[in-house]
Amino acid sequence: MTVGGWEAFLLIVRRELVLSFRRPEQLLQPLVFFLIVTTLFPLGLSLQLSLLRDISPGVLWTAALLSSLLSLDALFKSDADDGTLEQLSLSGQSLTLIVVAKTCAHWLVSGAALVVVSPIVATALGIPVAAFATMMLSLALGTVTLSWLGAIGAGLTIGLRRGNVLLSLIVLPLATPLLIFGAAATERAISGSSAVGAMYFLASVCVFTCTLAPLAATAALRITLE
């Protein structure tokens, strides 16, 4: 009696979550990094919230991108190192399903956590509470897309020396539309004008990525596994 796709998906997500919570410090590190990087800007620039507010969307998004990159390396690395990735690929479940499950679980513990923490960072940068909803929604869409871009990059760079640097080099240029649309949406929300246009673009990039990236990430894994 073989195991159905949905059941396998949930089992893999559960596996990833159990593993992540066994090492809680690894979950917190990117979040702390997010907070630290955001703090650097007021320290380097200005104390005045009104001035910070002008650059805050860019700062917020850049910090979010960089912190997400930190955790992306771990998507496949641990499994590749101890041989369990091979076992997963031989489990009878499609490799795409495995990749989707792992990426979803990864977003839950990294991207989603980032979105939850973002109001704290936003307050430190002087972003008004009225803009929070748009900001958090844009971050949610952006981090989902980034998790997928990162899955492709991580799949390509498993086991390489300085793989995490190469991962950043690969992912960041591809992530520039996210930065542009996400920061624009947040900025519009801050200034009170409609962020709908930017959000639509962000959402369409997200949907586009979610549709095609699983295939690319699976292909990347196959190249590495062979």
Partner: protein
Amino acid sequence: MWTWFYKLASPPHVFRVAAAFVPWLLGLAALALGYGLIDGLAIAPLDYQQGDAFRMIYVHVPSALLSLTIYTVMAAASAVALIWRIKVGHAVAAASAPIGASFTLAALVTGSLWGRPMWGTYWAWDPRLTSELILLFLYVGVMSLRSAFEDPARGDRAAALLAVVGVVNVPIVHFSVVWWNSLHQGATVVRLGAPKMPGSMLWPLLAMWLGFMLFYGAVLCMRLQGELLNRERQALWVREAIKS
């Protein structure tokens, strides 16, 4: 009828074809570039607004066009190599990548030099320049990925996948950059390019573009020969080719 097409998968055949093409491509490129440069730099009339500085267009625009074309060629060759497992595709992609990166760099440098008389600074976040910069990063990513692998076959496949992923993203990135630029438009119109092109300006530009394409073709063939020799160095035909 399609045998010529199937033969393109054979390294020794491609090697011979490339070797044969090189002198023709170089010759034609020299002609086109010669005409373009002389006409564009010396003969074409001055732009009333920009003066002599606009002549940078004759190098900048073809370079930018080439950088995009080469990326597309690289991605297409990579796709062929990945889907049908034709190794020559990897050789073409590997040979093209540094050429494309060089053209991207040339576009950036000429754009910067053009910007100096135009805006008074060496850099401005013009949409085309910004897109070119990101394109340069994409090229560097592909080249770095290929060289990071110890097994060259795996490196080829990984770089090929990245090239295909990149080519899908290039239009998205360009669109988002243009959109972003339109949001933050300052008082000065930050656009590198002459909006209207009378014939006397257009012909040298087209000639330069054609010349650059032919030049790319020639350099590609030369590099391709080297790549094929390197990749197939265990094969019999390579030893024959070296002896002759």
